[in-house]
């Protein structure tokens, strides 16, 4: 494991963080549901919803999945994946939108 200094005390601190993250996630869920009832313009609604989702995902990844203290190797893997993920979504989308269609 990559947790070299995971003494029981350190874990206790971790647990407190987990609870805090959980509360934040619950609040953000409430916020995102609340916002969806506001009838924002589509662009704004998408931005807000995805922004909140990204924050939640980051919290889960950083704290529950311990990415915040993870090794460089894992980040390299995720970086490569993230790059190709973006390539896939945006280039496919761009190409589809560029179709010569009457």
């Amino acid at each position: 494991m990559s947790h070299d200094a995971l003494t029981p005390e350190a874990i206790k601190k971790h647990v407190r963080i987990y609870i805090a993250v959980f509360v934040t996630l619950a609040c953000l869920t409430a916020v995102t549901v609340g916002v969806s009832t506001l009838h924002l313009t589509p662009a704004l609604a998408i931005s807000v919803a995805l922004f909140i989702a990204t924050i939640k995902a980051t919290l889960v990844a950083c704290y529950f999945m311990h990415l915040i203290s993870e090794k460089k190797l894992i980040f390299s893997v995720l970086f490569i994946t993230g790059f190709f993920f973006m390539v896939m979504i945006f280039i496919i989308l761009a190409t589809t939108r560029s179709m010569f269609v009457i």
Binding site: M1, Y18, L50, V60, L73, M88
Partner: protein, 202 residues
């Protein structure tokens, strides 16, 4: 892994001195990388189909948002209990590990039950994947996610019962395994965090 192989292959329970991770930690992240591409492809298809279809309905108009919110909360809670089960192992509290792991599994089952009700409603209202591409996307994405939840439940069940024997023989490796199972479980949660707004709310 048989005892003979456990000796042959290094870095099963202790991290590699240079990379700093164990084999299974690396492997699970590689697996999650492929999962990112899998769900990414489906999301990408969803976006493409949606932007080209002006009649695409808003999820909040046709889907059951309260039920999905409940499911979101269930899944987030299960993520906490999962990470707590690992933390309990790190504190040498096997009893608490069992409690949290059982809770995680129950929450996972709860998610599936709620999902089942949701699906049953849709089928009663005669909404099928063939109805339109909105429902096709909805059933495919949530169905595939559901399969992942199911896989996670089965893995966790294994670690709650048969797999937990390892705690006696090799606690470090066992804690490592729970961490890896946890990473998968959190990833499933993470996918839902994106699924929920993009399908149910937008």
């Amino acid at each position: 892994m048989s005892e003979a192989q456990a000796q042959l292959i290094p870095y099963i329970d202790e991290p590699h001195p240079i990379t700093g991770v164990t084999n299974s930690k690396l492997a699970i992240w590689l697996f999650l990388a492929s999962e990112i591409m899998l769900f990414g492809a489906l999301f990408s298809s969803y976006i493409i189909l949606r932007v080209s279809d002006p009649t695409w309905p808003h999820g909040r108009m046709v889907l059951n948002v309260p039920l999905a919110t409940l499911n979101t909360m269930i899944l987030i809670t299960s993520s906490v209990t999962m990470v707590m089960s690992w933390a309990s192992l790190m504190q040498n509290r096997f009893d608490r590990y069992r409690f949290y792991m059982a809770l995680t599994i129950l929450l996972g089952c709860g998610f599936m039950v709620v999902k089942g009700f949701e699906y049953a409603h849709k089928f009663e209202a005669r909404h099928f994947p063939s109805t339109n591409n909105f429902y096709a996307t909805y059933f495919t994405l949530t169905g595939l996610h559901g399969l992942h939840v199911l896989g996670g439940i089965l893995t966790n069940l294994y670690f709650l019962f048969f797999g937990s024997k390892m705690w006696k023989t090799n606690p470090t490796q066992f804690a490592g395994r729970i961490e890896v199972a946890g990473l998968y479980w959190h990833f499933v949660d993470l996918v839902w965090i994106f699924l929920f707004p993009s399908i149910y709310l937008l």
